[in-house]
Symmetry: C3
Subunit: 400 residues, 3 copies
């Protein structure tokens, strides 16, 4: 419960309306009710403002000047940067995730491990030999900390995290449930009869202020180290292979995979499901759209898309032309019959076309008028509804 | 051990042969032996019927009328819907996954948590403060249940599941091992010097009769909630981001990723590895093929494919034309030389072609006859075998 | 600490220099210092040899004959197969991952489970009824072993692994943290009102010498079994569905998904993020590049790429032509205006073109000179930086 003025002070905003009212929570514009503060974006303004039941609204300067906004909202806080203001207010209403210091009697801590008396070790945690856990760290249940692991102060580790031997985690890091850090890189040598495992002797270093999502996997180096730079944020189900290096403040969205020894610069953004080949260097400030397949080095500042990746503008252009491809075939057919007729006419008129060898007939293009292929491109003849790749038995069985 | 007639009654089928024989198990047509019941599909009929050693076979009406089937199978159960019949018989031979009620002495249950006396809490389970576990729930080892979690009756939670604070799970839900529910959404604001975490204050609601596969991750809402509608089925390694809403009875196959605030209607099917952009609305009954990249809203009932997604028919058509693309280039080359020759002839004959500006020569197309590019498209010159994206050091090292 | 000669003997190499020096570790060429042995590849030779501070270097015969190499390196071990030699030396410096035999008092082992006295069961392990753990197996903390599981000798199971009931694991298998083996396959039948679960009665067999990465999921068979053949290696976050069969010595890189009932031959390589449709048969020695979408059977020995998959050569060729597609449109426009002009001229000269129906004008192609579409192909108008699929709220909020 905070007064509106108190919130405004915190976010360096100006109250328009009554700063003395009490605010009990933050909510989205659709869900906000009596006692809630919400926030207005250009998008929600257009569609949802009139139904807003919030007691107060955070608004950017531009929208605050709008007459409709002024008519509808009784209490607002006007700020320079609404996104940042929202972030700061959300923090005010967040519940703490760190726990009271102490080691649960249900935890296992190796004798020579060093756990700060200010750290919180919850039930069913395993801390291996030689590991060091600094002050204000919280470790949730079922987290496995191997040998000689180091965890910096104020770090928060949720349940079921695995930290293999020798992993180093910085300060104020957050690791979500189920992530595996420091597992073996994927490397084998064919010795003539079998894939022989290459021992993965390297380590993993995660710098300060990194956040790692749920069920993400980051392998240790084969030699040397895998490295996640300060302030980078990694989403769920991401795979980062051995000896990858991620620069500072990069953003790696869910289900991205980065193959061995590739390196990302600073402030790189890889959208969801991007794949990065091994031994690729990606410069600072690169942005890759969802599903991009990065197959070779990318210059700093590039916006890329597609597989293999290309400049985003080029990809847009390609999509544009791909849409017109069926038309092009028809057009060529028409031109071609022209050309042939013209050629004939020209020949009759004295022309001398060098060759007609290899000139395809118009009827080759999937049936002419229909413009629809008789045989599909990689999907079975049972038709679209049964088709999807990986759709598994399910749909098949429904169709029986 | 059940009599064949008993099985037939259960599945509303008609016995042809001896209903008194005993059936001890169900098996596939290749693996079935003495005492087993199996089932015949159009596919297995063609290839595997003659080798069938099963004591009895479930058959649809159409196949049951086939003379070969009648000659080979001594005991069959004829049904209207073989897929459903198979499902029902498989249930008869399934082993129970729920455990006897009781809380293991090796579990940790917070004092104020409410666990039904009819629930089964196995060893090494953590139940946090304020959580409620209803009757006939079974929780397998190493599952972490945070604070104020609610789990509805008859729900089955396998090992290593993480349920963050405040998650609500309905009745008869099944959650497979390693899934993480209610982790923080992936949201940050750049404050000028760093990515500042946006507190994720929302929740996650999973309705009745949902099944969630292994190592899947579903984030909580940033505000408001992430929502999985009644009867939906989610496979392994799926990522569902904050504030996503999934309608009833939808099917989400393995490795799908759905970005923040997108919503799926009812009976949607997303095949494996589909990616869905943020803030997209997908209508009821949409079917997306494997690997589809969904980049904007999709109308109800659409069958879609490709990245960016398009109607499935259009995608098939595009694949058809892409296959013909190299030919097209050759054809154009031929036409082009025609046209130029014709133009010349025409000019000689009195024609007046307006311009030859920008007309490319035939030799531009990757070497003429060969039709094969000298320099590959995104893969290194070492050649195809070394090429695959993310193939990692492995293949490289083998090649040395 | 080993003498160089001892290492050379182990790897069947010849010392050039002083075989009596002591080697304390192995390191990459950039990181190696006094006391380290490193290895030289064609790649590192060109770029990093001159800075090398290692005490000794493993070199192939070809590079060993190079004058620069001879000038710079004082102590080298010349071998036939440097990759294999590296593997063998790395093994010499590896630390053992297996633990001393014994069952931790913090583990739970069912009364009738059979655990070899030579096996190591670490704290917080669950071993269910009827399970058998052979000699020299090590099981790390938080691993769940269900009922009637069998684990062959010398197998190493890291933390948080889930082995569902009835799973069989061979000898010398390595399973990394968080993997789930034997979870239910994803199968349902629509019964008119709901998706009805098909009981998954089958099993999972993992043969000897398999390695499975972190957070990978492998489902049990619906009937019969899912099968991973001897010596195959599977990376992190891979999904293998029910009744899949993987042949011997295959390599499955991270984030691959293989749908139900598909089968892989021997020595198959699937690079990262490959997707395989259900019921597909992939022959021996097939190599699929990263992100390939395999939609139907693949003949033995094929190199494939793309979605739907095609021969790798064909894919390269297609990429080549796709790059030229915008040019082609311009070229056609030019030709088309020629053709029309020519046709007119020809007609004036006596020609008889059959039809101009459906001939598109040059202006249709995205604006002529610019060659750039006005409306993008699937990405919103806000532009590339905001666009990426699955980029989530994050980027959006930064842009405000």
């Amino acid at each position: 419960m905070k007064r509106l003025q108190e919130i405004a002070d915190k976010i360096r905003g100006r109250v328009v309306g009554d700063g003395r009212i009490f605010i009990s929570n933050i909510a989205s514009i659709q869900e906000a009710g009596q006692g809630d503060i919400t926030f207005l974006t250009r998008y929600s303004f257009a569609t949802q403002l009139s139904d807003c039941k919030a007691s107060a609204v955070i608004v950017g300067k531009e929208l605050a000047a709008n007459q409709d906004v002024q008519n509808i909202i009784r209490n607002m806080v006007v700020v320079d940067n609404p996104a940042l203001a929202y972030t700061e207010v959300a923090e005010m209403f967040d519940t703490p995730k760190h726990k009271e210091p102490g080691i649960s009697q249900l935890a296992y801590v190796a004798e020579d491990a060093q756990v700060s008396s200010e750290a919180a070790i919850m039930p069913f945690v395993h801390v291996g030999r030689g590991s060091i856990i600094e002050r204000k760290v919280t470790v949730y249940p079922f987290t496995y900390i191997g040998e000689n692991v180091r965890i910096g102060e104020e770090t928060l580790i949720y349940s079921h995290v695995s930290l293999y031997n020798g992993v180093t985690i910085g300060k104020r890091v957050i690791i979500h449930a189920g992530s595996v850090l420091g597992s073996d890189g994927f490397g084998y040598t064919w010795d003539g009869t079998r894939h022989r495992k290459i021992a993965q002797l390297g380590s993993l270093v995660v710098e300060d202020d990194v956040e790692i999502g749920a069920n993400t996997t980051i392998d240790r180096g084969s030699l040397g180290k895998t490295f996640i730079g300060r302030g980078s944020k990694i989403d769920n189900l991401v795979q980062i292979a051995h000896n990858v290096s991620v620069g500072e403040n990069s953003i790696i969205v869910a289900q991205v995979g980065i193959a061995g020894s590739s390196s990302l610069g600073r402030n790189v953004i890889l959208a969801g499901q991007v794949g990065v080949r091994d031994h690729v260097t990606i410069g600072d400030n690169v942005k890759a759209g969802g599903g991009t397949g990065i197959t070779k080095d990318v210059a700093a500042g590039s916006n890329i898309m597609g597989t293999p990746h290309m400049p985003h503008r080029e990809w847009l252009r390609l999509q544009h032309y791909l849409k017109k491809l069926p038309d092009l075939f028809h057009r060529i057919d028409a031109m071609d019959s022209h050309t042939r007729v013209t050629a004939t006419a020209t020949r009759q008129a004295g022309g001398n076309p060098s060759s007609e060898r290899g000139e395809p007939g118009a009827h080759e293009v999937g049936g002419g008028e229909a413009g629809y292929p008789r045989v599909g491109g990689g999907l079975p003849s049972e038709g679209a509804t049964r088709a999807p790749l990986m759709e598994k038995k399910l749909v098949q069985e429904e169709k029986k």
